[in-house]
C-alpha cells in the first residue's frame, strides 16, 4: 500500500459515486459480485447477516476497489469506518420520525393535563398552523395541532409534525399573528429536524445508527428509553439554545412568507418576559433567556421588508377562541 494508492482510491470512489450512484448500480455490484448476504438463522428476528460475519461487515465497493489497486486491509477499514459514520448521520426516516413523535405526543397529553376538547378551537388552531406550515422547509409533512388542558403557558413540537399548545397560552395570545408566530417557532423545530438531530447525536453515542421501525418493534426497551430521554429533554431540560434561536429565526421567515405581522411575535415574547415570575411554566427553564431571544429577533426583523405592515388579526382570534 502507498499514499498514491489511497489518493487513487478516493478519486475512484468519487467518480464511481457520480457515475453509478443514481442508477443504483452499486447496490447490485455489492449484492452480486462482492458479497451476498446470508439468510438469517431460523427463528431469528434480526435482519440478514453479512456473509463475512467474522470480520463484522460484508465486503463493499471499497473492498473490491482497494483489493484491485493493492491498498492494505487496515487502511480499507479506516475508509469504511468513516463511510459508516457518515451513513449513521443520515436523517432518520419518516416512518421512524412519526413513530417517535406519536409516542412523545402521548407523553405530552399525559404530563400536561390531557386534551382540552373543543373541536371549533382545534379547527381554528389547525387553520392557522397549516397556513404557516405551507411555507415551512418541509411543507409536505402532515402537521397536526391540538390543545393541552393546562393553564401553564407553553407549546411543544414533537417529530413527525405533532404540535401541542396549552390552554394557558391560548388565553394569553392577543392576536392571530402572535399565535401564528408561536406555531411558526414550533413548526421550525419539526421542519428543521431539531429533535431528530438531538436524537441522532445520542443514538450515535450508543451505536444505535440502525434506527428503523423494525428495530423499534424488535427492541421495545430501546424505543421506550429513547422516547423517555427525548421527553425529558423536551419537557424538562429543553433543546440546545442554538436550536431555539434557529427556530425563532426560521419561524420568523415562515411567518413572513405566510403573510402575518412580524412585530406581533416580538410583542408576544416581550409579554412573556413581563409575565416571568407571575407564572410557573417550565417554559422559562427549557428555553434561552427572553432577553437574548429578543435581542436576536431584533436583528432578524429588518431582513423581512414590509413585515410590520402585514395583518395581526386580533378580531378573528377573539372570535375564534372563547373559553368558558
Amino acid at each position: 500500500m502507498n499514499r498514491t494508492g489511497t489518493g487513487m482510491l478516493g478519486c475512484a470512489l468519487l467518480m464511481g459515486w457520480v457515475a453509478l450512484g443514481e442508477a443504483g448500480f452499486l447496490d447490485e455490484v455489492v449484492k452480486q459480485g462482492l458479497g451476498t448476504p446470508a439468510a438469517p438463522p431460523s427463528g431469528s428476528n434480526r435482519p440478514a447477516a453479512p456473509a463475512s460475519q467474522e470480520s463484522g461487515q460484508s465486503p463493499g465497493l471499497v473492498d473490491g476497489l482497494g483489493g484491485l489497486i493493492g491498498v492494505d486491509r487496515s487502511k480499507l477499514d479506516l475508509v469504511k469506518k468513516g463511510l459508516n459514520t457518515v451513513r449513521a448521520l443520515q436523517p432518520i426516516g419518516i416512518e421512524e420520525e412519526v413513530a417517535i413523535g406519536r409516542a412523545i405526543a402521548l407523553e405530552a397529553f399525559n404530563r400536561f393535563g390531557g386534551e382540552y376538547v373543543n373541536p371549533a378551537m382545534q379547527k381554528y388552531l389547525n387553520l392557522v398552523g397549516r397556513t404557516v406550515a405551507q411555507f415551512s422547509d418541509r411543507p409536505e409533512l402532515g402537521y397536526r395541532f391540538a390543545i393541552l388542558n393546562s393553564d401553564e403557558e407553553n407549546a411543544f413540537a414533537a417529530p413527525g409534525g405533532y404540535i401541542l399548545v396549552t390552554r394557558g397560552l391560548l388565553r394569553r395570545v392577543e392576536n392571530e399573528a402572535q399565535l401564528a408566530g408561536v406555531l411558526a417557532h414550533e413548526i421550525a423545530h419539526v421542519s428543521r429536524r431539531h429533535m431528530l438531530e438531538t436524537i441522532q447525536r445520542s443514538a450515535l453515542l450508543s451505536n444505535a445508527s440502525e434506527l428503523t421501525v423494525s428495530v423499534m418493534k424488535q427492541d421495545p426497551g430501546m424505543f421506550r428509553n429513547l422516547v423517555g430521554e427525548v421527553s425529558d429533554k423536551l419537557f424538562t431540560h429543553g433543546l440546545d439554545q442554538s436550536l431555539e434561536f434557529d427556530a425563532d429565526a426560521q419561524g420568523l421567515r415562515y411567518l413572513y412568507m405566510a403573510g402575518y405581522n412580524l412585530p406581533a411575535y416580538r410583542g408576544y415574547l416581550a409579554g412573556l418576559q413581563k409575565r416571568m415570575g407571575q407564572s410557573t411554566s417550565v417554559f422559562y427553564s427549557t428555553h434561552p433567556s427572553l432577553a437574548s431571544r429578543l435581542e436576536k429577533l431584533d436583528k432578524e426583523l429588518p431582513r423581512h421588508a414590509g413585515g410590520s405592515k402585514l395583518p395581526v388579526l386580533d378580531g378573528r382570534l377573539r372570535k375564534s377562541l372563547s373559553f368558558s
Binding site: R3, T4, G7, G10, C11, L14, W17, V18, G21, G24, L26, D27, V30, P47, A48, P50, Q57, S58, G60, L61, V62, K80, L83, N84, R87, P91, G93, I94, E95, E96, A99, R102, A103, A105, L106, E107, F109, N110, E115, Q122, N126, L127, T131, Q134, F135, P139, E140, R144, Y162, E210, V213, P220, F223, V227, M257, G259, Y260, L310, P311, L313
Partner: protein
C-alpha cells in the same frame, strides 16, 4: 499523498462546474405541490398543478408571486415562496450508496413507505402506549389529532378572509 489529494480536488471542482452549468439561470423547483394559475391570484383560473420537486423556468417575480413556464410551454403564476433553487429532499430515489461502499448495506436497509411499515409504526406506538399505561385518553387524543381534516377550500377561504397565506401581500 499530495498527488492524490490534488487529483481529488480537481475532480471535485470539475464536478461542481459541470453541475452548476447543467441548469441555466431561472430554473427553480417546487417545494411542495403547487397550483399554477392564469393570473397572480389563487382564485384565478388554474393552469396546472406542479408536483413537489418538478422544475419550472422563472420568467418574472414580484414580492410574493412568480410567473413560471412549465415544461409543456404553458405559463402561469404561483406563490414565489413555494419554489426554491434546490430540489427538495426525497424528490428522487438513490439507494443506500454509503452502505454499498462500506459494505453491510442490506443490514441497514431503510424501511420503505409501504402499508406494512405504516402498520409497523402504529404497532410501535400502540405497544409503547400499553407499556406506559397511556393507551386510554392520551391515545384517543392523538388519534383525534390525526383524524382532524382541513378541507383545502376551507383553508383557502380562511386565508382569503384574513389576507394571509396564498392571499398575503398583493395577492387578490
Amino acid at each position: 499523498m499530495k498527488r492524490g489529494v490534488t487529483l481529488g480536488a480537481a475532480l471535485v471542482l470539475l464536478l461542481g462546474a459541470t453541475l452548476s452549468t447543467a441548469w441555466g439561470g431561472g430554473v427553480q423547483y417546487a417545494k411542495s405541490t403547487v397550483t399554477v394559475t392564469r393570473d397572480p391570484s389563487p382564485l384565478s383560473a388554474k393552469v396546472a398543478t406542479v408536483e413537489a420537486g418538478a422544475a419550472v423556468e422563472v420568467l418574472k417575480q414580484d414580492e410574493r408571486n412568480v410567473q413560471v413556464k412549465l415544461p409543456n410551454g404553458a405559463t402561469g403564476w404561483a406563490n414565489r415562496f413555494k419554489f426554491g433553487s434546490e430540489k427538495p429532499a426525497g424528490a428522487s430515489g438513490g439507494g443506500d450508496l454509503l452502505g454499498a461502499l462500506g459494505g453491510g448495506g442490506s443490514v441497514y436497509a431503510k424501511e420503505s413507505r409501504s402499508g406494512g411499515s405504516i402498520r409497523g409504526l402504529r404497532e410501535v406506538s400502540e405497544d409503547y402506549a400499553r407499556n406506559q399505561r397511556l393507551a386510554g385518553d392520551p391515545m384517543a387524543s392523538v388519534e383525534r389529532m390525526e383524524r382532524l381534516q382541513v378541507n383545502p377550500d376551507e383553508l383557502l377561504r380562511f386565508q382569503e378572509e384574513g389576507r394571509v397565506g396564498e392571499f398575503a401581500g398583493g395577492a387578490k
